[in-house]
């Protein structure tokens, strides 16, 4: 970037003026996060008022790598870190170190644990959706189409993932409210193929199953393929979460009932804007921002 | 002389799929060298393995020093005082000479090896057995097979023991080293150690042993003082059946004037310098030389197994300006090779006999559209096995269940069913019994009688003089002299072997 400028002096000051923001994602192999990242990159190229370094880990469980990324970003001298933490507890000490080093930290997507932040005596603002209420919304939409006592199954994400747990709880809330019977709840590790195998087993064990609630759309895809291969498309309904591109076609074709959209593309941008705001005014007290989660059905897609 | 029975075996029997040893009664007295002979597969190694605790006998009992002796594993037999040099090399390639020599009693303090002391001990030992030129700190893999064999013998000799078993220790030693070994054995004998000595070389046996036992098909058919039996009687006892092949036929040359192979100015790194010679069709060319003189290297270079080399090699009419870069190119041009180290690179121990025999010709002769014709394979290998005189139970047994000598016959046999014109044999009779050796000579003779040729490396000069038309001598990587059958004298050949020898040279540096 310094080549554009004729004088090295101004280039230097340009670099000095422009804040550098490190965006640390969870898995980049997941469409939700790559959309989030793309949103951030577009925002940056439209604004040109800051420098953006994006990094992620290979899957959502590699906490050590994400902690290392925080340290690396601090070492490389970023002014702010916007992070979608892979774990709501394990990242706090590293983020505390970052805050102590004078870096502005904003938490997006997956909320950090309040009590541990207190223990570590840091406060990091959260910008993001409420997964539990989102899942409940999807679950309730599904429940409207079923009758009380109908059997449903939940496909969980990684059992260790916070938002996975939140979504499961949301589904459970909805099921409890509508008096649906949850016959089984098993983890397919967010994966399409595992979800496929699992669904087939579940369907053959519970021939009267009416619906499957998948904690993300990738698993919903696997479930749909399983249901199709057993020719039970008419009997078993599927809902997902995340609103990835691949699921939209299935919703349009009535194969999947609903999913939830967390506005991935905007999520990181909200975080970055919050960070920029604080960089501009060191005294500003940042509050948590709850971003919207929308129910996506065939109607909303049209 | 009062003899004290050190070891005895009573009605020892062992069978694998078939009976390998039956009712062996054997005794060894202190201070004697007891020779053990027998055809390949007679059960010599098995017998010794039982004594060394590597194999457990089915029935019978043993005593050592008057006490019952029942070793369950090698550790127990070593504690009881039994040392053994195995027929196949069993050194550890990634360790140094010194570490190999003292593997089970490394000098240590708190588990840390006393490196200096180890080197000192090793140097002393190597000196004592006449190998001062070996650097104890160099990797064992950098030594040739002959030197490795000596190191392995040294290893056993250095350990305190009551019984020393040597399973074909001389098979890759030349006459001088053999002499050295014998002197040392006599020393041990004087210390009251009982030695069991296995060899297929009858002259050696009559030279060094006090008594001889003969095994035939797992039975002990004779035990007696060495001077009470003549070599020809021994041969009779070893194999009463194959007596006809054992009559030494007079040498007949099949040498034709046409050239089969020409090697010109071959140079391999610093191991071979400027070697030129030719080979005629139907000729058997012997290569003599001391251990480490580069004979194996020469065969490897011709066969394309050593990649960096200069010079040219021509085969038959085809002109090859460049040496063969890879073995399969040499094989396509009608060369075949029998490597020195059978176990490492000569045979496929985990395949069966048939598969070993047909490995080189599988694609050309035993397959159609890439599919193997097993019936044909079995037929051909059946004939070949009987032609080679291999003793076996079943064509589909794994090769590692065969005795060493029989494995060697298989390794030779695979080339007989290819279109190979020139065979490179590296110590082909190593570990082969006297009868089989003669039958191997016959096979070689039959091979050259069809206009094919052989280059043969051997440490046994008598063997070369018995079978070859011509002998070339290598010394320190140079071809020093060529001898013709008409004019050669063994003293002159031995002298030529020593031609370039710079004494006290360290081969590792």
């Amino acid at each position: 970037s310094s080549n554009d400028s004729p004088s090295p002096g101004t280039a230097e000051s340009d670099v000095m003026e422009q804040p550098r923001i490190g965006l640390i994602m969870k898995s980049l192999a997941n469409e939700f996060f790559s959309t989030m990242q793309e949103g951030a990159i577009q925002h940056q190229s439209a604004n040109q008022s800051y420098e953006l370094i994006c990094n992620g880990i290979k899957d959502e469980t590699d906490l050590a790598r994400q902690v290392a990324l925080v340290d690396e970003m601090v070492a490389s001298g970023v002014n702010a870190i916007v992070i979608a933490p892979a774990d709501s507890k394990a990242l706090i000490p590293a983020l505390r170190r970052a805050v102590q080093a004078g870096v502005v930290v904003v938490n997006i997507d997956n909320q950090l644990d309040k009590s541990i932040m207190e223990q570590e005596s840091v406060s990091i603002p959260f910008v993001g959706p409420d997964n539990r209420s989102g899942a409940k919304m999807v679950g309730s939409y599904l429940a409207d189409q079923l009758k009380p006592g109908d059997q449903v199954a939940i496909l969980e994400g990684k059992t260790t993932a916070f938002n996975g747990v939140q979504r499961r709880l949301g589904f459970e809330d909805a099921a409890r409210d509508a008096k649906l019977e949850i016959v089984t709840s098993q983890s397919a590790d967010w994966e399409t193929n595992k979800a496929n195998g699992l669904t087939i087993s579940i369907l053959s064990e519970y021939p009267n199953l009416s619906a499957i609630m998948a904690s993300n759309d990738s698993m919903a895809l696997g479930a749909v393929a399983a249901i199709k291969s057993l020719n039970r498309t008419d009997q078993v309904k599927v809902v997902g979460f995340d609103n990835i591109t691949a699921i939209q076609e299935l919703i349009r074709n009535d194969i999947v009932l609903a999913t939830a959209d967390q506005h991935a593309a905007d999520l990181a941008v909200f975080g970055i804007e919050a960070a920029l705001q604080q960089l501009g005014d060191q005294n500003a007290e940042l509050l948590d921002v709850q971003t919207p989660v929308d129910l996506i059905t065939k109607e909303t897609l049209e | 002389m009062k003899t004290h029975v050190l070891f005895s075996a009573d009605h020892l029997s062992k069978s694998f799929a078939v009976k390998v040893l039956s009712n062996i009664n054997f005794d060894l007295t202190a201070g004697e060298i007891h020779g053990l002979v027998g055809a390949n597969g007679a059960g010599k190694s098995t017998f010794c393995n039982i004594i060394a605790g590597l194999t457990i006998a089915d029935s019978g009992c043993m005593t050592l020093d008057g006490k019952t002796y029942q070793p369950r594993n090698r550790t127990q037999s070593i504690q009881a005082g039994v040392q053994m040099v195995h027929q196949e090399l069993s050194l550890i390639h990634h360790l140094t000479v010194a570490e190999n020599l003292f593997l089970n009693k490394l000098p240590t303090r708190c588990g840390v090896i006393q490196h200096r002391q180890l080197l000192k001990q090793a140097a002393m030992l190597l000196n004592r057995i006449g190998l001062p030129q070996i650097d104890p700190d160099c990797a064992i893999a950098s030594l040739g097979a002959g030197q490795q064999q000596l190191v392995e013998i040294a290893m056993a000799l250095s350990r305190q023991c009551k019984i020393l078993i040597l399973d074909e220790p001389t098979s890759s030693l030349n006459s001088i080293e053999t002499q050295q070994l014998f002197e040392w054995l006599c020393e041990l004998k004087d210390q009251g150690i009982g030695i069991i000595f296995i060899s297929h070389r009858l002259d050696e046996l009559s030279l060094i042993t006090d008594r001889i036992s003969i095994l035939r098909d797992g039975e002990l058919v004779y035990t007696g003082a060495t001077d009470k039996i003549t070599p020809s009687q021994i041969l009779d006892q070893i194999a009463c059946k194959n007596r006809k092949t054992q009559t030494e036929t007079a040498f007949k040359s099949y040498c034709k004037p046409e050239l089969a192979l020409r090697v010109k100015n071959l140079k391999v790194n610093d191991q071979l310098q400027d070697i030129s010679f030719h080979l005629r069709r139907g000729e058997r060319l012997g290569v003599a030389g001391l251990m480490g003189s580069g004979r194996t290297e020469l065969l490897n270079a011709i066969y394309g197994e050593v990649s960096s080399k200069r010079g040219s090699i021509q085969v038959l009419g085809d002109t090859m300006d460049k040496p063969f870069q890879r073995p399969h190119l040499a094989a396509q041009n009608g060369l075949g090779m029998l490597p020195e180290d059978r176990k490492e690179s000569g045979v496929l121990l985990d395949l069966n006999l048939t598969q070993n025999l047909t490995i080189s010709s599988l694609k050309k002769k035993f397959s159609r559209f890439g599919i193997t014709q097993e019936a044909k394979e079995r037929r051909v290998s059946d004939d070949l096995l009987s032609e080679l005189g291999v003793s076996f139970q079943d064509q589909s047994q794994y090769l590692h269940t065969l005795s060493g000598g029989n494995q060697q016959k298989i390794a030779f046999g695979k080339w007989l069913i290819t279109h190979t014109q020139t065979l490179l044999l590296d110590e082909p009779t190593r570990g082969i019994d006297a009868a089989a050796r003669l039958s191997l000579y016959t096979l070689m003779e039959r091979f050259v009688s069809r206009g094919k040729s052989i280059i043969m490396v051997s440490s046994d000069l008598d063997e070369l003089m018995q079978t070859c038309d011509r002998i070339i001598v290598l010394a320190e990587g140079q071809l020093t002299q060529t001898f013709d059958r008409a004019t050669w004298k063994s003293e002159e050949i031995i002298k030529a072997c020593f031609a370039n020898s710079k004494t006290e040279e360290d081969p590792c540096n």
């Binding site: 980049l28 291969s229 691949a246 | -």
Partner: protein, 315 residues
């Protein structure tokens, strides 16, 4: 002859068959649905991709190599398929050919680099694992691609027999590969090379093409497995088959293939795949919790191998 082979197979695999039998019994008694014919079909239609990959792996292991890139290669080929079908609107046949080609190219790269540069295949294929996965993400833009029903018939059960074409194909591959291994020059040389490469080379055989072919074969099977995987899920998933190398190797080793080369059987690899798949389906049907699932899976794999080792020692 036919009878003899079957008997031989049963004897040879007694340990594994017993384990498989016990598993089936336990799951059958523990659930309502396991003994239904449908469950058999369910298991059968789960495994074509793993079967193919494990067969390819068997060849590579036999020549004393290893292929860690199988999962990534599978993903790359299914990504190529998805991308051609969806982003470039190419005909199905072309996309299928391309997918197989992609697989074979990965295999060829693995084979050529490891054999020609004489580098352990472990490290070459480990690099390929990363590279192919990276390429997969590039091609799919890290998004799951929904392919739809064009290739679905490959994985859907054919109605009367409840097996999918993919499964039938995989079984055919198993039988054919077993034949290739036991009855062809290529198979024999693979085994020989695995036992003692030096000896084979000194027997005047050029080992390079055979070794490379084994890797290419593995790549081709991964390519086809990629198609089956995509067909099963109707999607091209950039995260497909992560970690499949371990399952495939486990199947081979359970079936008695040696990691030190020279020993192995495609038919027993298939038994290994069946054991793994039965276990997975059975545990899912029982609905046990995730940690317990893992503990049981690990233990059963161990038990299968130990029981097989014991059987061999007795006989």
């Amino acid at each position: 002859m036919q009878l003899k082979t079957a008997k031989h197979f049963a004897l040879h695999h007694a340990g594994l068959l017993v384990v498989l039998g016990i598993l089936t019994l336990i799951f059958g008694l523990g659930t309502d649905s396991f003994f239904r014919f449908q469950t058999l079909g369910v298991i059968a239609n789960q495994i074509p991709d793993l079967t193919l990959v494990a067969v390819g792996m068997t060849f590579v292991l036999i020549i004393r190599g290893i292929d860690l890139s199988v999962g990534s290669t599978l993903a790359l080929s299914s990504a190529a398929l998805g991308s051609l079908l969806i982003d470039h609107d190419q005909p199905v046949l072309l996309a299928i050919i391309a997918a197989v080609l992609v697989g074979s190219l990965c295999g060829a790269a693995n084979g050529l680099i490891s054999v020609k540069a004489n580098i352990p295949s472990f490290i070459v294929t480990l690099s390929m694992l990363e590279i192919a996965r990276g390429l997969t993400k590039l091609i799919t833009n890290s998004e799951t691609k929904y392919i739809g029903s064009v290739i679905e018939p490959i994985s859907n059960p054919i109605s009367p027999i409840s097996f999918s074409p993919a499964f039938l194909f995989a079984v055919t591959v198993v039988v054919a590969s077993q034949f290739v291994l036991r009855r062809t020059v290529f198979g024999r040389y693979c085994i020989a090379i695995g036992t003692n490469e030096d000896a084979v080379r000194l027997s005047g055989i050029n080992v390079v093409p055979y070794k490379v072919t084994a890797f290419v074969l593995c790549g081709v099977f991964c390519g086809i497995a990629g198609i089956f995987h995509a067909a099963k899920l109707s999607t091209a998933d950039p995260n497909a088959a992560v970690g499949m190398e371990l399952s495939a190797i486990a199947a081979c080793v359970i079936g008695g293939t040696s990691l030190m080369g020279g020993r192995g059987n495609v038919s027993s690899t298939f038994l290994g795949v069946l054991i793994i798949a039965t276990l997975q389906t059975g545990l899912a049907t029982l609905g046990v919790s995730d940690p317990i699932k893992q503990i049981i899976t690990g233990s059963v794999i161990l038990i299968a191998v130990i029981s097989d080792a014991l059987r061999q020692r007795w006989s």
